[in-house]
């Protein structure tokens, strides 16, 4: 047990107090600058000055009164800031928009939309980016490394609005046209399979013979799979089926065991395989639960069920390393259950596509939801979920493409630096195998500096999708911001600004505290 003493708590308390007062000061200063900049660059009465309406003068005076426009901006700021300070005792007030709506209400409506837009993309970008970055570091100077380095630089340099237009053209319009006649032409299939083969062969470094074998094997397999899907009209009525779920489950089991404990660890391997078997076997029974009346809780229950069973297997399979076995079982079950849920969504796809609201063109280019869906479709968890997924596809791909390059570069650099450390040499000298050296000693330490970036990126999300929201016509924080600037709405602008600023400083504090937790070398100083 760690002893805790009064002194430590005092230091932490003093530290937090100091940080909080600093945060308040920073928010105050930043919002003061922003407020006055906005006041200089906009004229809220501009539209009314040219107005020829009879009541223009009345509108003018009422606007001046409601927004306190007769007070000069540097002083008017304090009227506004009083509302922010009141948040400290629970009476948060950000004033009203020009149209008389409370700014807080407008923001409360917008935040969930923005979170829905960016959350999937961020998680995808983090997972993909860190994975690819670490693989490129492990295979430094390989073909895969060079190609990924180039691609990440290219993605770094892409304007997101440009990518968005291309995605609309090819992924939405092109794919919808393709669904009208879902046959993959050979001229597309062959290059696609070759590229897939090339990527896999690049990752599996080795001698030349192995490279070509992997290349030919993967290309042929991938091409055959695509051809099979194309011939069976899979793209119109997709699904994974019990065989697909089984394949995924066992692949995940092997992968998770290999990364977390190594395939030589028998209890762990048995747990993972057992949990894959459990998930696959529960495919048909689960269909009884995942009916039309299912909702989000049902899905959670399914996960809880498979994870619980797998954890039990992990508990009973051996009485050494119980924690590790349970962990392997839980991760395997979590990953392996995802295909079952995905399969359920997919089997609703043909219903969704043929409905009147969609009329055969499922990937939309604009908007955050299909308003033409009937009430019963709206209440069906699978249909409405599918509608959300379809509307999220394009923005998610665009955001992921843009932001994952940063994670690739950062995690690659971080792991390379760690692998040059003395403790890695020590680990190798102890005779640990390469997997343990890389996963336990390398990756864990390489993840440390990433925590700071991750926390800050999550905070930047709320205000970070201005362009994406504008291109894909979502009504979140970005569109509020656009509206605020274009209609000279100072309170609305400051509302969006203050939310973003508060999140940023809070995330900074959280990152510092979290870093102290994950890295025991860091100590809070008095």
């Amino acid at each position: 047990m760690r002893r805790c003493c009064r002194g430590k708590v005092d230091i932490l308390f003093a530290y937090l107090t100091r940080r909080f007062s600093m945060m308040l000061l920073i928010i105050f200063g930043a919002s003061y600058i922003a407020y006055n900049l906005q006041a200089i660059s906009s004229d809220p009465l501009a539209g009314l000055a040219e107005s020829t309406e009879e009541n223009a003068e009345y509108l003018r005076t009422s606007l001046i009164r409601s927004l306190n426009l007769d007070v000069p901006p540097p002083i008017r700021y304090f009227i506004w800031f009083r509302g922010v300070l009141a948040g400290l005792w629970g009476q948060f007030d950000l004033g009203q928009t020009r149209t008389g709506i409370s700014v807080i209400e407008a923001i409360e409506l917008a935040i969930p939309v923005t979170i829905r837009l960016v959350i999937a993309a961020t998680i995808l970008a983090i997972v993909l980016g860190i994975t690819i970055g670490m693989v490129t570091a492990i295979r430094q100077y390989s073909r895969f490394d060079y190609v990924m380095t180039f691609i990440s630089f290219l993605l770094f340099s892409l304007p997101i609005f440009w990518v968005a237009v291309l995605l609309k053209e090819y992924m939405a319009i092109g794919f919808n046209d393709f669904l009208a006649k879902p046959e993959i032409p050979l001229g597309f299939l062959i290059p696609f399979s070759l590229v897939a083969g090339l990527i896999m062969a690049g990752i599996m470094a080795g001698n030349r013979r192995r490279f070509w074998m992997v290349f030919i094997g993967v290309s042929a397999g991938f091409g055959a799979l695509l051809q099979y899907l194309s011939l069976t009209s899979w793209f119109i009525s997709p699904g994974i089926g019990i065989i697909g779920v089984g394949v995924f489950a066992f692949a995940f089991a092997a992968l998770v065991t290999h990364i977390s404990t190594g395939l030589d660890n028998r209890p762990s391997l048995i747990t993972a395989l057992a949990s894959a078997t459990i998930v696959t076997a529960s495919y048909f029974p689960l269909q009884g639960i995942l009916t039309e009346e299912a909702n989000f809780l049902t899905v959670l229950a399914v996960f809880a069920l498979t994870i619980g069973l797998s954890a039990m297997v992990g508990f009973f399979v051996a009485n050494v390393d119980r924690r590790v076995n349970i962990r392997t079982g839980i991760i395997t079950a979590l990953l392996a259950t995802l295909p079952i849920i995905l399969d359920r969504f997919m089997r609703e796809f043909s219903n969704y596509m043929s409905s009147d609201a969609v009329s055969g063109r499922p990937v939309p280019t604009l908007g955050q939801g299909n308003e033409l869906l009937t009430p019963e479709q709206q209440s069906n968890f699978w249909i409405s979920g599918l509608d959300d997924i379809m509307h999220l596809i394009l923005p998610t791909v665009a955001l992921t493409l843009i932001s994952f390059a940063g994670y690739v570069r950062f995690s690659r650099g971080s792991l390379l630096e760690v692998m040059n450390m003395d403790y890695i040499r020590t680990a190798r000298a102890k005779g640990l195998n390469e997997r343990t050296v890389i996963v336990r000693h390398g990756m864990r330490n390489a993840m440390l500096p990433l925590t700071t970036i991750l926390v800050n990126d999550f905070a930047g999300l709320i205000g970070g999708a201005i362009i994406t929201e504008s291109v894909f016509a979502w009504k979140g924080m970005g569109s509020l911001f656009n509206q605020a600037i274009n209609s000279y709405d100072q309170n609305l602008f400051m509302g969006v600004f203050i939310i973003g600023a508060t999140l940023t400083v809070t995330a900074n504090l959280a990152a510092d505290l979290l870093f102290g937790v994950v890295d025991p070398r860091i100590r809070i100083r008095k």
Partner: protein
């Protein structure tokens, strides 16, 4: 067998160090960095391409400064202007399927499609009202480069000064300056840029770039501060102080040259970011306005006609990506060049050469 192989590996390892040592023998730090940079193929190619794009767009489109009331204009070699309308030209450069204003540029040689390579009167086609698109894109590229240079130099100047003062003097000065930096950091560039651009966008690109530069120095200041914090504890700084050097002299003559790597590398990142920010602002309508053009504005204006006239969408994008990509690669090359821990990958051929050299030297010594 395996012992022999191991032996060979050992000599190879030793040779690697020798190669690295021989390469830096008798060279100054600057020369070593320059050599490392020149050897970075991607960075060198990017540098050449970037210089070419800069020269091409500035000489082609000429130089345009000032706002609409008092213009300073120097004519370039490209005959068409961004405000000229030439409907006959558009009809002339019609595509086979009857769409006016197609690009006349044809890079596919004769033996493939039978028309032959040519540049033509309007290589990038014409926009919807018949203005030459090459002139528009050149002008846009010119604006982007201008923004990049202004934001980059302003950001580097302010960031270096703030970071250097904070890191060197420490204490209360450091605390105040860093809180100021934090204050600017919570204002996202895009948001501040939109506010500024909404008012100053119509004044042309220079005021916009200056204002953006005033809000782009924070990251660099933090890096420079960290660098100064560690450098000021070094022995050569103490030596300079004992020799009676003033603070200013120590900062500029002793510490700054050692921190220049950090500054240059984050400066290039700042520049590529500035291009994307400007084009994003113009795309949203908060940056450069008509009648002036920028690459982001062109994309935003013609994104809806993609199916009919895709060239109007592709070319500005290609220029943005080309410029940003070049700057990023140059930054990467500079980072590698300035990083003393950076080990170059030594190819098998070089190892073998080094081995041969060694064995011949040994043979000579024997003889």
């Amino acid at each position: 067998m395996s012992a022999e192989l191991e032996n060979k590996e050992n000599t190879l390892d030793k040779n690697e160090n020798e190669i690295a040592l021989r390469e830096t023998e008798g060279l100054s730090q600057g020369q070593i960095i320059f050599r490392r940079f020149v050897r970075h193929k991607a960075a060198m190619t990017s540098l050449i391409v970037l210089v070419f794009i800069i020269l091409f767009s500035y000489t082609g489109s000429g130089i345009h400064l000032g706002d609409s009331n008092n213009k300073i204009t120097v004519q370039g070699w490209w005959p068409y202007q961004i405000d000229q309308i030439d409907p006959e030209g558009a009809v002339e450069s019609m595509c086979a399927n009857g769409i006016p204003g197609c690009p006349t540029l044809d890079l596919i040689p004769e033996f493939i499609d039978g028309t032959g390579m040519q540049v033509g009167a309007h290589p990038l086609g014409m926009d919807t009202v018949g203005t030459d698109y090459f002139a528009l894109v050149l002008r846009g590229a010119e604006q982007s480069i201008m923004v990049m240079l202004i934001v980059g130099s302003l950001g580097v100047a302010i960031g270096t000064v703030v970071g250097a003062i904070a890191g060197f003097f420490g204490g209360i000065v450091d605390a105040v300056l860093m809180r100021l930096t934090d204050m600017f950091l919570v204002m996202p560039t895009l948001i501040i840029g939109a506010v500024i651009g909404f008012r100053f966008g119509n004044l042309g690109v220079v005021p916009l770039a200056v204002m953006l530069g005033l809000f782009a120095w924070m990251g660099l200041a933090r890096f420079v501060r960290t660098e100064f914090l560690s450098l000021r504890e070094r022995e050569f700084v103490d030596a300079a102080r004992v020799a009676g050097a003033s603070n200013r002299r120590i900062i500029f003559k002793h510490i700054l040259p050692n921190a220049v790597g950090v500054i240059i590398v984050s400066g290039t990142l700042l520049m590529s970011g500035a291009i994307l920010t400007e084009s994003a602002l113009s795309f949203l309508g908060f940056g450069v306005r008509a009648p002036d053009v920028s690459l982001g504005l062109l994309i935003s204006r013609y994104q809806d006609v993609f199916t009919v006239a895709p060239w109007l969408f592709w070319w500005p994008g290609v220029f943005i990506i080309a410029i940003a990509l070049c700057v990023n690669f140059i930054g990467d090359g500079l980072r590698d060049a300035f990083d003393p821990r950076q080990k170059r990958r030594i190819s098998l051929k070089e190892r073998m050469q080094a081995r041969e050299l060694k064995s011949t030297a040994a043979a000579k010594a024997k003889a």
